[in-house]
């Protein structure tokens, strides 16, 4: 999910940078009024926690990332505003210190993983808890759904950015099928882990969970993940992943086609006429898109899903074995 330099062109990256800076800036001003200084070290420690958890490869999430994004987790633990700031700081330091995500793509990464993921997670969390009884179990289930939605929304942000200025002119429907479809699967892992982490915190310190405080859920109840609920959640996630690839992805191509038609009608951007448009996937898009929109996209999407699952699974298997081996071989005293 961390976009490197060169994937998205400069104009789009700059636009995303301005949007991200504006959004995070507005939230900083808002939070600056209400945040007391005691919360600053706590937010810093939470950022370190998110970073550490992202280092941990959970065996459950098979995919390109293979780790938690944490958007929903921070939104529900710390609230949406502090959550956005914490995750933006994490993304900033990952780019500057660890070269994880490009420096020029910082705005894109903050927009996708900081703003979109956290805010979508919070909106979905509030929407789901609005129709459920105010209990710890509702908080946990709403968190699972919110985490799934946040990962899918963040990948949707990438698809929109790629459509505006991505390298390689891959048909938008293919990118949509691959990214959103795969992240609908990764989102299952994100949802289950987020729910488990929250259940663990709720059982011991429910007062630390912002989402529970907002709902007035105070009583500490241990809510282990019920097997039927997990199965239902996984099935729903798989179904939506398939639906996104098979039903929505082929239709995703209609939007850029319309854009190109408008551009052509206005006569200011014929295919490949200007250097700015030539690098974008919108130029010449119609031909490649229409020709193989239907079956080709679905096949590509399904191949992408299977390949990602296989590759992700293999990487996780190797890395978890290695982690287990190093854990065994290092006689560190606790």
């Amino acid at each position: 999910m961390h976009i490197p330099d060169g994937y998205i062109n400069l104009a789009t990256s700059a636009g995303a940078g301005v949007t991200a800076a504006g959004g995070v800036g507005a939230i900083l001003r808002r939070v600056g009024r209400t945040l007391n200084e005691r919360q600053i070290p706590v937010a810093g420690l939470a950022a370190a926690f998110v970073f550490a958890v992202q280092l941990l490869n959970f065996p459950i999430a098979a995919g390109t990332s293979g780790h938690l994004l944490g958007g929903a987790l921070v939104a529900i633990l710390l609230g949406p505003w502090v959550g956005v700031i914490v995750l933006s700081v994490v993304v900033l330091l990952q780019a500057l210190l660890f070269a994880d995500g490009g420096v020029s793509a910082l705005g894109l990464n903050v927009l996708n993983m900081g703003l979109i993921a956290v805010l979508v997670a919070w909106l979905v969390f509030r929407a789901v808890t609005a129709v459920l009884p105010k209990t710890a179990a509702s908080v946990v289930s709403a968190a699972a759904v919110a985490a799934w939605a946040s990962v899918v929304a963040a990948s949707g942000g990438f698809v929109a950015e790629y459509a505006l200025g991505g390298a390689g002119r891959v048909p938008v429907s293919t990118v949509f099928g691959a990214m959103v479809g795969v992240h609908a699967l990764i989102g299952i892992g994100e949802g289950l882990i987020t729910a488990s982490v929250l259940a663990a915190v709720l059982a011991v310190r429910p007062d630390l969970v912002h989402g529970a405080r907002v709902l007035g859920v105070r009583r500490a109840v241990a809510v282990p993940l019920d097997r039927r609920a997990v199965t239902a959640f996984v099935l729903a996630g798989l179904t939506s992943a398939l639906l996104l690839v098979v039903v929505v992805a082929p239709r995703a191509s209609s939007a850029p086609d319309a854009l190109e038609r408008i551009a052509a009608a206005e006569g200011n951007s014929g295919p490949g006429q200007t250097s700015l448009a030539a690098g974008s996937p919108l130029a010449h898009y119609g031909v490649a898109g229409v020709a193989d929109a239907g079956v080709g996209t679905i096949v590509a999407g399904v191949i992408g899903l299977v390949a990602t699952f296989g590759a992700g699974g293999a990487v996780l298997l190797v890395s978890s074995r290695r982690a287990a081996r190093t854990a065994r071989s290092e006689p560190t005293l606790p």
Binding site: A48, L55, L96, A167, R169, R321
Partner: protein, 253 residues
């Protein structure tokens, strides 16, 4: 807090690059990366110029090519996704080594790998020559919001502490014969992550109390702010400006 804490990325040295103020290096990095990304992908010579510039910076910082290459392996998996572009790319197709590949996708993959690698190398030079606290101080001198630098400061100070706690939890699990590997064992790791959050939160509160008892009044004192001379700016910006010139020439050509 010992010196050397959370400085795993820093390579001790006394080169000109090490001595440059952090904010100057940050500006140089951003200008360089923007110039690289703005370069049209067909202009291969411009990327050669950029690569020579990064190598010069690394050499001036006494960082060996093997060191930089080793660090760059961390970024390699993120660039691997670019290899899919020629397979799924649109537009005209060519046969390369028996594979039916998209020409645009090939150029796209080249662009991502070339630009991504150059950006990676440039930021490796920055992190290897700048201690993390200096980097954060540099960010705040570039007028980054105080809340962001404050949170980032606590994050980098306690990163190793929190990661260490996570590691000890895994060791403790392994010592008791439990090594979660499969999907259905994920909840055990998630539960320990939950415990880790509670510990992080409580540690944050303790840290605040400890700071207040030592006279903290909402702002950390900035010690020994380095004097930035115009020669620092000239030295640091020479390389990115060369890259910018190369990018401009490449765009015009």
């Amino acid at each position: 807090m010992s010196a050397g804490h959370a400085h795993a990325l820093f390579v001790h040295g006394h080169s000109r690059v090490h001595r440059l103020p952090a904010q100057v290096k940050l500006v140089a990095l951003v200008v360089f990366v923007v110039a690289v990304v703005a370069t049209p992908r067909e202009m291969v010579w411009a990327f050669a110029v950029d690569a020579a510039l990064v190598s010069a910076a690394a050499a001036a910082a006494h960082l060996g090519p093997r060191f930089v290459a080793g660090r760059m392996l961390i970024g390699a998996p993120f660039l691997a996704g670019a290899l899919l572009l020629p397979v799924v790319g649109g537009g005209a197709r060519v046969v390369v080594g028996g594979l039916w590949l998209s020409l645009d996708g090939l150029w796209g993959a080249w662009a991502v790998i070339a630009k991504g690698t150059l950006g990676l190398a440039a930021s490796i030079v920055l992190t290897a020559t700048t201690p993390v606290p200096d980097l954060l101080a540099g960010l705040s001198r570039l007028r980054a919001p105080a809340l962001v630098t404050a949170i980032a400061g606590f994050m980098v100070r306690y990163l190793e502490v929190i990661a260490g706690e996570l590691h000890r939890t895994r060791v403790a699990m392994a010592a008791r014969g439990y090594e979660p590997r499969w999907a259905w064992q994920g909840s055990a790791l998630a539960t320990s992550a939950g415990a880790l959050f509670i510990r992080s939160h409580e540690r944050g509160e303790r840290v605040y109390d400890a700071m207040v008892s030592r006279g903290y009044q909402g702002r950390l004192p900035q010690l020994d702010a380095p004097v930035v001379t115009s020669s620092d700016w000239v030295h640091a910006l020479a390389l990115p400006l060369c890259a910018t010139v190369a990018a401009v020439v490449a765009v015009i050509a």
